[in-house]
Structure formats: structure tokens, C-alpha cells
Symmetry: C2
Subunit: 292 residues, 2 copies
Amino acid sequence: MSQEDSISFSRVTIVGPGLLGGSIGMALREKGITGEIWAYLRDEKKRQTCTNLSWCDRAVLNLQEAVQESELVVLCTPVETILDHLPMLSGWVKTGCLITDIGSLKKEICECAHRWFKDRPSSFVGSHPMTGSEKNGIEFASSDILKDKNCIVTPMYETDTDSCQIISRMWQALGMKVTKINPELHDEIVAWVSHLPHIIASGLINAINNKNEKWIKFCGNGLKDTTRVASGNPEMWKQIIMGNKDNVTAGINHMVEELNLIKKALEFNDREQLMEILDSAKVVRDKLDDNG
Amino acid sequence: MSQEDSISFSRVTIVGPGLLGGSIGMALREKGITGEIWAYLRDEKKRQTCTNLSWCDRAVLNLQEAVQESELVVLCTPVETILDHLPMLSGWVKTGCLITDIGSLKKEICECAHRWFKDRPSSFVGSHPMTGSEKNGIEFASSDILKDKNCIVTPMYETDTDSCQIISRMWQALGMKVTKINPELHDEIVAWVSHLPHIIASGLINAINNKNEKWIKFCGNGLKDTTRVASGNPEMWKQIIMGNKDNVTAGINHMVEELNLIKKALEFNDREQLMEILDSAKVVRDKLDDNG
């Protein structure tokens, strides 16, 4: 399955290729990491689209058929579907198969996978490639969206170390910056750096629109950028936010405190305090552009 | 100064050309709207930089010299400096001169201008070209940043109608979408569509950084976009936000209400309510991309 310095799989299956799964398929092909690439899709129309893509050797509608001879299975469906698939997969995949996923929440997925895979001759290692777009669908896929982006791999205490190494090296081979973090801490971090921005973007758009729906047309680039993520798939984000609600709630509370600090500076005409808030935000924000 | 269908000025002065003033100078030259273009700058180094730019015929350090023979003066300094310059300009400009500005706040500027220009043979009309970037400085100037962007022109009841028409046609000639709105309503609108996004971006960056300064490195494109405006010039934004504090405070209060709605949906596990919030935000946000 893997040699000393290179990663290769005789067959990889992408379960539910959309924007990200399609991009992973393309990147696996470009890097020559796999022999065949199969895809599992739910409906015939999507299956046919996928069959015509150059990275995809075979696209099937039967999940068992799609995964049973693969050495690597990458689960790319929404979080709740990943949870639904894990029990079946644990019974279907062959000895030595590695299973990973791209779900934005890791605690529930990794705990569920642990329950189903712990006595099996196959291994699950959770992954979260932190990339994407407000656009959805395989037609926007591109191996470029993985390049230089963060990927958090989330081993549990019980996760097989070798399997974790192979999955990490696979993401690195696709161009990603890999960090290993346990699933619980992962969920806390992404509540702040990913889920909170989404909530704030959605809240801001609704605040303006509820105030006066004619005003939104006066948006400039600032408002467009600040709210871009609010165009993401609501069903997917509902699952993510609901599945991480304690961490997200803590993030919202902290955000409200920050807004109240600014309100207080305005109320007391405290120009120095306002300057300090804006200045410290600028210093931190400027660093993000050097960050891939 | 202007003919039936075209706008032209024998000399235009840009006071304090930075990103936006430089872009206006370039656009005026490209569109052939003016004979000479002069610039006023505060320091010798910036003056020399400006002298070397193709759109600039003369750059001077003396404000009176810069404006006294011009037919159009465009004030491109921060808001507080615009307020400082208005009294002097009202005494220096020649008969028939038009003065406009690019300040992000209009009520205070237009009221101040009205006091100083009401008995003069020259006219002030406030403008707010809604474009720019988190980048500052004349080196990032480009006439493209004006194209298809909103420009709000803010006549008061007392503003000369012909002057307002000429200023509006000038912005249109530079490629902007012009809307006329009174200064008070302008300030309320921009509190929501421009100042509130800035505050939220700064607050979000600070919230994450205060929670754990190591987490910011896990940012993806979503966090980058949501907080891009927080890299703007803190001194400029301090003036803008402080100068519009009542409207901004109302915006913050409304934003906190929106965040509390989301918290409540999480607390009660109300998936339908969360979906409705995310979905309505998406519908509105999607429209912004069709909006220039």
C-alpha cells in the first residue's frame, strides 16, 4: 500500500465527489498516487457527469461495489451522510483498507468511526482539508484549491499510528500543509476560525436586509468580501453549525463581547480605545495574507 | 466649465491623492475630461512621487497655490482633514469653482461646507465614491477601481442643482453608478453597508486572537475574506466610525440581535430556524455578485 518514501494505492474510491472530492480525485491523478480512481454517486445524472471526467475510471451507484476493492476510501459527503455510511463501510471494505473523510466536524465522526472500525482489519483516520469555496459542485473542482492550504488530520488516542502517517503523507503529496490535532480540539478551533465567520457573515447580511432591503445595493467590495461565505450551501452549514453548537455558542458570546467593547468606546467617545481595537485587528489580519 | 453633453474642466486639483485620489486623477486623464491636473500633497517625498505620475501635471506643497486657479477641486484626504480644509478653500477658490470630496461621512462635511460656501461664488457638492481596497497609497491607484462601482452624491436642500448635475455627470463619465441621497440618509446607509462590516471584521479577528493566538494560522479562505477589510487604515476608520457613532451603534445592536437569534436556534436545537437564517442570508448574498 505504501513504500518508504512514496504513497501509492492500487485503487482509491471517492464517495460523493463534489467540489472538494472532485478536486481530490484530480490531484490524486495528477500526482500519480493511485492506480484506479472510482467514484460513488447517488444519482444517475451525476454518475454520468463523473464518468466523463478524466480522473475518474469508474463511477457507480452502488456503495458496496464502489468501496469493496479499494485501498483508500475518501468520504466527501456532508457530515450526516458520513455518519450514516460508516457502519456499512466498516463491513464492506477489504483488509488493510484506509478510510478517511473531509468532514468539517471531527469529534462525532471520529468517535462513530472508532466504534465501527475498532475490531476491523481496516482503519479510519479523520481529515479536514480546509479549503473550498462558496461554490458547490464537481464542475468547480480543481486540484489547485488544495495547494498550500491547511489540512488537519485528527487521530484519536486509539488510532493506528501507521495509518495516520499514510493519510498525512497523502495530503502532503497533494500539496497541503498537514497538522495533527485531536478531534475535540479540532472542533473547538474550527468553531472559531470557520463556523463563527460563517455565522457572522450570515448575520450581517440578514441585519442589513432586515433594516432596509433596498440598502444592500449600495454594497462595495468590503461588504461583498465580508459576507462571501454566506453564499455557501445552507444545508451543509446547518449540519456543521448544529453539530458544533457548544463551541459555536461560546464563539458567538465572545464575538458579542468584542462588539460591546467597540460600542462602549463609541459611547464614551474613547478614540484611543477604538484605535487600539482597530489597530490590533489590523496587525493580526495582515499576518493572514502571509499564511498561504 | 461644462457643455450640454460633455463635462470638461480647464484645471482640476486633487487634494491629497492616495489610492482613491490617484485613481480619480488617472481616470480624469484617460477620459480627457480635464486640461491640467494639479495635486496638493503635504510632504516633499510624496510630492516628488506624484510629479512623476503621467496623469499629474503639477504637484505642489502649497494648498492655496494648488487650488486657486482650478475649476474643480476634489478633496481626497481623511474626513477630519477635509473639515479642516473647507474654511480655507472657501476663501481661496475662484468664482465658479466646484468643490467635491470623497469622504465616507457626508452629514458633517456637507453641513460644514454649507456654512463656508453659502455666500461664495463657488459651490460644494459632497460625493462618496464607494470603492477602494484594504491597500493604501497612490502606488495602488488604478482607474479600474472606479468602474461600475457606486458613487453617492449628497446634495443638501440648499445645494445648487446645476453644480450637483455637473458633479454627478463627472462621476458617471469616470464609469461610476451615481445615486443622489441626502447627507443624513447617506450616513445611515453606509453605517450598515460599510462601517458595520469593518467593525465586525475587526471584532472577529480580535475575538479569535484573544481566544488563542495560535489558532489564527488555521484560517482558510473564508476567514480571510470575512476579515479582509480589517487590514484597512486604522486611523482613517477610527475617524469614520467615531464620526458616525449613533448610526454605527444602532447597527451593532441589530447585529447582536441577529447573533442572538442564531444562539437561540442552537440552544433549542431548532434546525428549521437555523436553516431559515442561513437560507435567507444566502438568497440576499447571492444577489450582491450580480451588483457590479
